[in-house]
Amino acid sequence: MSATAYRPTDVKEEEVHVKEPSYLEDGHSVKSWLLTGDHKRIGIMYLITISIFFFVGSLAAGLIRAQLVLPANSLLEAETYNKVFTAHGVVMIFFFLLVAIPAVFGNFVLPLAIGARDLAFPRLNLLSYYLYLLGGLLATTALLTGGIETGWTFYVPLSSMYSNGQVTMAIVGAFVAGFSSIATAVNFIATIHKMRAPGMTWGRLPLWVWSTYATSLVIILGTPVVAITLLLVVFERVFRLGIFSPELGGDPVLFQHLFWFYSHPAVYIMVLPAMGVISDIIATFSSRRIFGYEFIAFSSLLIAALGFLVWGHHMFISSQSMYQSVVFSLISFLVAVPSAIKIFNWTATLYKGHIRLQTPMVYALGFIGLFTLGGLTGLFLACLGTDVHLTNTYFVVAHFHYVMVGGSVMAFLGALHYWWPKMTGRMYPDNWGKVNALLVFVGFNLTFFPQFILGFLGMPRRYAYYYFAPQYQPLHILSTAGASVLAIAFAIPFFYLTRSLKYGAKASDNPWHATGLEWTVASPPPTHNFHETPVVTREQYEFGHLVPEVRAIEESDKARRDAEIAAEHAAEAASTEAK
């Protein structure tokens, strides 16, 4: 495939746009940004804020890796180390992963993709952002003024009774961010149900909208549970209302049940939007109708539903009933199936597709590989026998980083590079993007693959020292080396992307020749998105009118499908006549 950007020669795009100011030019005052109702500006504000949080979380990660280079060192004391990995988890999960793709790209692109002028509740959207910011500030303050050593999982009774850290403030921060999440989900649900343009049926939605919808359902069903659970921990600390307290006959394992009832679906909140974005990127850069649209759409809903039935697999070694553990183990195996369906469908889409290896596609291909590995290693953990050996070791750490970083973060970067031209009206240098994507891939594997081996060999997680087993050191050194590469790879896009804002080539409406209504408006879009409500007459993933190379194949595919349907009808008609 050619290394240069794809430049069509014979496809003319209709550029009949009235010269409206883009959303970026529509008001330059601070007030017009801070009090905006425009979903696009709110998306940009989210982007800037989550990037800052990602940076903070990465600093903590750097400290962790620096500590673990030596089996026993005085870089960090044990309690400080505990505070550092807690900070890493809290910031990355509550303030980056849960928020990144839905709040940045969901906010920015969703109304455009369904043909609406804005989300259903713009002021609620703005409130969402400020709640998120407030929660983040509270939690960061807690982490910087004393910190918490409980782990992001806040297990009782450490968090409720014995910890001297800033548990209350950190929990309140997470609680407030939870409300932000719920408000965004409510907004998305109302928008997707009620604000689709005429002709945009459920069957014509982009697949990432299906994923966003499933994610929003998970958010409204799960987040309140963790909210009340953490609130009860705060009640225990502040009002002495001991609900989980063993001294009162309460059960600490109940905390774990309630916590993981949300936190397992939470990982699907992190991964479903990522998978949705990948669906669209793969379709666009193969110029091919996604294979098995209904299956992928339905699998998003199935993952959301099944994801609520597996929380116990985080508790296999607690005193949980053996019989329940068996049930959870079985359902955990089942929940892998819809994810696998997606992987198979993406691969089938690539087959005989008109593949262009531009930056978003490189990230998407990396996602498929890394998510597959992460998902398969999850099966080791879902199996009761092996879990006893592997749980609370670095195997678990590697598994979830493969799906969350190799999965979600790669997808986030892919989405960023995919929608960057739309959001900013500028193209970034694609070669930089592709090379950086490869660097991320290499750095990531170097960081986390050794951790699978470490875990298998028995290295426990959340341990500041491993002087009892200095033979782990080479693997830790590899991991830290990888982390350094990964850090550079995450930093580089910041530079070429911000540089593109001033020096990048101006982007056309549809630089990737993608389907999707957002690609029919100017880059960047005007404030009100569409000056006339679009009417949708085409299926979502039809590329023939955009990419002439695939026109013939698409038409023959369509003809074949139509022939099959006609044959079915004929067969039915024949059989009813025969009766």
Binding site: V225, E247, L248, F261, L309, G312, S319, Q320, S321, Q324
Partner: protein, 147 residues
């Protein structure tokens, strides 16, 4: 209660006040019933000359109380919150919240099934799941509550 009220422009269904009054009276009556039922001690009723064990007696009380509560809730949801007259989507949302909440109650199954495969020596520990299920009351221990 099924008669629809007058129509206003914009397809608003206005329901007669009498419908709401009837629902309110029903709710009030159910409340009285539930308070009254709680005073009835079912262990002393002798159907067919049998006595009921205290466990079953209190179970009957619980079932009655919860049934009445569910009935009241249903009346509020259907009539005061207009779900009976809403779109299918609204009905789905209304139901799904309660369905999902029941999913959470599966947590109780964990505690219920722990005794089926007990870990030896659990029964030695005060407050462990096993000793509770044997019907012992939680007793004072030497551990002092946090002062």
């Amino acid at each position: 209660m099924s008669s629809h009220g007058s129509h206003l422009p914009g397809h608003i269904h206005v329901f007669p006040i009498w419908m709401y009054v009837k629902v309110f009276i029903a709710l009030f009556v159910l409340m009285i019933l539930t308070v009254a039922a709680s005073y009835v001690d079912f262990t002393h009723i002798h159907p067919l000359g049998m006595t009921i064990s205290p466990l079953v007696g209190s179970l009957i009380n619980n079932v009655i109380a919860m049934t009445i509560a569910v009935l009241k809730a249903t009346l509020v949801v259907l009539f005061f919150m207009h779900v009976k007259f809403s779109t299918r989507l609204t009905k789905i949302f209304a139901v799904s919240g309660f369905v999902w909440m029941s999913l959470m109650f599966l947590i109780l199954l964990d505690y219920g099934t722990r005794a089926w495969e007990p870990v030896p020596s659990w029964e030695k520990f005060e407050g462990s799941a096993l000793s509770r299920q044997k019907g012992e009351k939680a007793e004072e221990t030497s551990v002092r509550p946090r002062q």
